[in-house]
Symmetry: C2
Subunit: 232 residues, 2 copies
Amino acid sequence: MKTFEQELSHLSSLITDMGGMVERQVALAAAAVRERDADAAEQAVKADREVDALERECEQFIIRLLALRQPLAQDLRQIVAALKISGELERIGDYAKNVAKRSLVLAHLDAPFATAGIGHMAELVQENLKEVIDAFGAGDAEKAAAVWRSDEAIDDIYNALFRELITYMMEDARNITSCTHLLFIAKNLERMGDHATNIAEMIYYAARGEPLPEDRPKGGAAGYAPGAEERP
Amino acid sequence: MKTFEQELSHLSSLITDMGGMVERQVALAAAAVRERDADAAEQAVKADREVDALERECEQFIIRLLALRQPLAQDLRQIVAALKISGELERIGDYAKNVAKRSLVLAHLDAPFATAGIGHMAELVQENLKEVIDAFGAGDAEKAAAVWRSDEAIDDIYNALFRELITYMMEDARNITSCTHLLFIAKNLERMGDHATNIAEMIYYAARGEPLPEDRPKGGAAGYAPGAEERP
């Protein structure tokens, strides 16, 4: 029989594995959009089943852990955070799958727009994902807070992309369908960034027992007009 | 000191209250879009803080419950489901807030499009939300499965709306900005429906100890082209 410490460490590695898998899925989805790589798109879609399976494994492991040990205080907060984080990761994977699927549709359309911006957003999302998973592994509340703050850069690119894509649509009606898909891809990436900040909040709370003290800076906070979606 | 039964029933009423609050929030957001009612929009935005507060209350109550009682088997599954459901409800509330905010932007634009379809989608989302919360209260797996199946109708309206809005954009470039906001509003409603099906899956699993046996029917399953976002 394993010790409780060993079980907590197994839980931590389940989350880390899941994070790594989702990170790769995001990279594949971004390559699919940037390089019209149908192969990468299919791999990103397929990876989603593994991510879902890992989420279920986490949940079952956590339920067993709660039933057999009676964890208290910080351990309990940590375990509940792991459950919620696995849900957030599953959601990010889901968005990556959606991006990959849209890239397959885009491949049939003439859409040379905004792929640099989307590539840049995807890189930042991957970076934040990596950092936040590292912060989880290390129980590092400060590192989590840094990820949370840096989401603003992703929002800024999203807002710029939104405006850019609208102008392409206005210039030529033939761009509308492809730019709409690109808008949704950009929005999906922006949401992935939001989910990474949710994870950061959970890590902070699990480590400190209190929520992050600040209001998150919002990219393009000046207005809702550019289409930015806000998280509280 | 309360009995464990009383505590479980308190948890159940927390979720039910949260569900009712989110349902009202969706109704307000829909009214804001349909009737350009800035007052309803502001109420929907304001309600989000209460929803967030209820989610935190749920989480804290659950952590206490896990620490003090050592619930097992179905009770434990039920409690973990409640934690996850409160997260899904918070997400739906978030989307409702986003819809309300966009309605304020739309009020300044000339956008007489698609509001009937959006109103219809919102009604179906409210109905599914109500049904799924009832299913939770009653622990009724069959009722949950029915909600899960009926999400297809919401997807169908979304796909029709998507096509409709694209045509308005193509007809006149001056429609592009407002139709893009309407597209995101429709997408937000479609995602709310998805979150209601997630809740249905959680209720089914908590009650039966196994996942829903079928693959969910997808509205407009024929293609990804219309912009439908899929959940596994």
